[in-house]
């Protein structure tokens, strides 16, 4: 094992922030985290909308959301990335690599989150809705103050799983040449040539630390009291 050739300061710098200090180009872990967190935020918003639509009693709306979920869940993310990257060129547009990976990842993850959200909403007992309606809250107030907060708590374990998957999925970006962690690792591996085990073990380790950290962070919220302290102070 010759980790000393891989674990040089220059390589660590490239792996963690890319060529940020030399050329001002973001890359490596920083790019992965940027992509991952943007995708997580956007797909949670989109997934919440589609998930609430799914539980709508209006047939057209719930069917449209079901079609969205099935269409995006049953296609490999890589195919979506290619669509996002090459399809706009048909209309003479060219999205940046970052934007196309972000769009594909958001649409893909949102399909899963929509299922989680609709499941979470269904998990809140009808009695809560009826009681809130009887107390005079409007349907929107019922959703906002009674159903969604409880649903959110029930959804947390599943959401945490999806977020980890979203971070893992950012690694597909290297297939269209975006300088994320995997791409930088691959470049370092190609330059050293004789140390693939060390390079890829290092990559796996970085991903492991990030993902495991994220899931431990989210697991801490699965404690009811802590959850209430963080989110229920309104």
């Amino acid at each position: 094992m010759e980790f000393e050739r891989v674990w040089t300061m220059a390589n660590w710098e490239r792996l963690l922030v890319g060529d940020l200090f030399n050329q001002g180009v973001i890359g490596g872990l920083l790019m992965t985290l940027l992509l991952g967190t943007s995708a997580i935020v956007l797909s949670t918003a989109l997934g919440a909308i589609v998930g609430v639509m799914r539980t709508s009693s209006w047939r057209t709306i719930s069917a449209a959301s079901a079609v969205y979920v099935q269409a995006f869940r049953n296609v490999p993310l890589l195919i979506l990335v290619f669509w996002a990257y090459f399809f706009p060129t048909v209309f003479g547009l060219q999205l940046s690599k970052f934007a196309s990976v972000l769009i594909a990842l958001t649409l893909f993850t949102a399909a899963y989150i929509a299922e989680i959200v609709s499941g979470g909403i269904r998990s809140v007992g009808r009695g809560h809705v009826e009681a809130a309606r009887a107390l005079g809250l409007s349907p929107i107030e019922v959703q906002l103050w009674i159903v969604l907060p409880q649903a959110f708590f029930n959804m947390l374990p599943a959401l945490a799983g999806r977020y980890v998957v979203a971070i893992k999925n950012t690694s597909l970006a290297f297939l269209i040449g975006l300088a994320d962690l995997t791409e930088i690792g691959k470049q370092i591996g190609a330059r050293l040539m004789t140390a693939p085990i060390e390079v890829y073990l290092t990559l796996l380790m970085i991903y492991f630390v990030v993902n495991r950290g994220l899931s431990m962070l989210l697991r801490a919220l699965e404690d009811r009291h802590r959850f209430n302290r963080v989110f229920m102070r309104m």
Binding site: Q70, A71, R73, N74, V75, P76, L77, L78, I79, F82, W83, F86, F87, V90, Y112, G119, A158, G161, V164, V165, K168, N169, T170, S171, L172, F174, L175, T182, G185, K186, G189, P196, I197, Y200, L201, L203, L204, Y207, F208, N211, R212, S215
Partner: protein, 240 residues
């Protein structure tokens, strides 16, 4: 842009069909190996041996928390260093991309299957096992004839999710040049400039494959649950 769908009846169509065959082979091998690996690890973890538990935990956590495509790259590029020279040279002649992709994906999905198996076994009340033992059934017998059929019913829906996940993740094998569907799309795009048509065809094929697997899984799960009163199924363990 001019779209010409008739190209799918020519050479590109044949390439896509070849890709489909490779994708199916890749998925089948991965599914088989991941299932066996997951069954083994999941059952061992459920039994709760104190000696094996740290290793099983380490395997499941490492495999689940790292991207499958990096795992594929790892197994592919380290093959020449890990395998003995004679085996590596022998495999190089037949192409070890396929083998590396199967190994990596099986290890990745095996961890998820292990969790599904363990969750399925854990969902059976311990009294079932105790009752079987008290009635004089042997340990393997009570595991196979009493627990496994009940756990299978519960573990089936997440396992089917895992199977569709495997089909989708075989597309990552193009990173090391396995000639499956996504690779053939890239090939058609680069050499014949018919990217949009090929991409649409490939997308439709993946969509159909996954929907067929999900449909079959649904039928099977209905069949296994015939005797059970309807109630909400537990939330699925899913992966990507």
């Amino acid at each position: 842009m001019h779209l010409d769908w008739t190209i799918l009846w020519g050479n590109p169509g044949l390439l896509i069909l070849q890709g489909l065959v490779v994708t199916l082979q890749l998925s089948a091998w991965t599914l088989l190996l991941a299932f066996l690996l997951g069954l083994l690890i999941g059952t061992v973890r459920w039994l709760g041996f104190r000696i094996t538990e740290p290793f099983c935990w380490l395997y499941v956590e490492l495999a689940r928390n790292t991207p499958p495509v990096v795992q594929i790259l790892f197994w592919y590029f380290s093959a020449s260093y890990v395998l003995p020279a004679w085996l590596f040279i022998g495999m190089r002649d037949v192409g070890y991309e396929f083998g590396a992709a199967v190994v990596a994906l099986a290890i990745y999905h095996g961890a998820f299957v292990a969790e599904v198996v363990r969750a399925g076994l854990n969902s059976i009340p311990p009294s079932q096992f105790d009752a079987a033992r008290a009635l004089g059934l042997s340990f393997p017998h009570s595991l196979l004839r009493i627990l496994a059929p009940q756990a299978a019913r519960i573990a089936l829906p997440p396992f089917v999710n895992e199977a569709t996940s495997i089909v989708k993740n075989t597309s990552l094998a193009m990173a090391i040049g396995v000639t499956e569907l996504t690779y053939q799309y890239k090939h058609i795009d680069s050499f014949q400039f018919r990217g949009v048509e090929a991409l649409a065809a490939v997308t439709a094929i993946y969509l159909m494959l996954c929907l067929v697997i999900a449909g079959l899984g649904h039928l099977l799960s209905e069949r296994l649950s015939q005797h059970v009163v309807r109630r909400d199924t537990p939330s699925a363990l899913t992966s990507e």
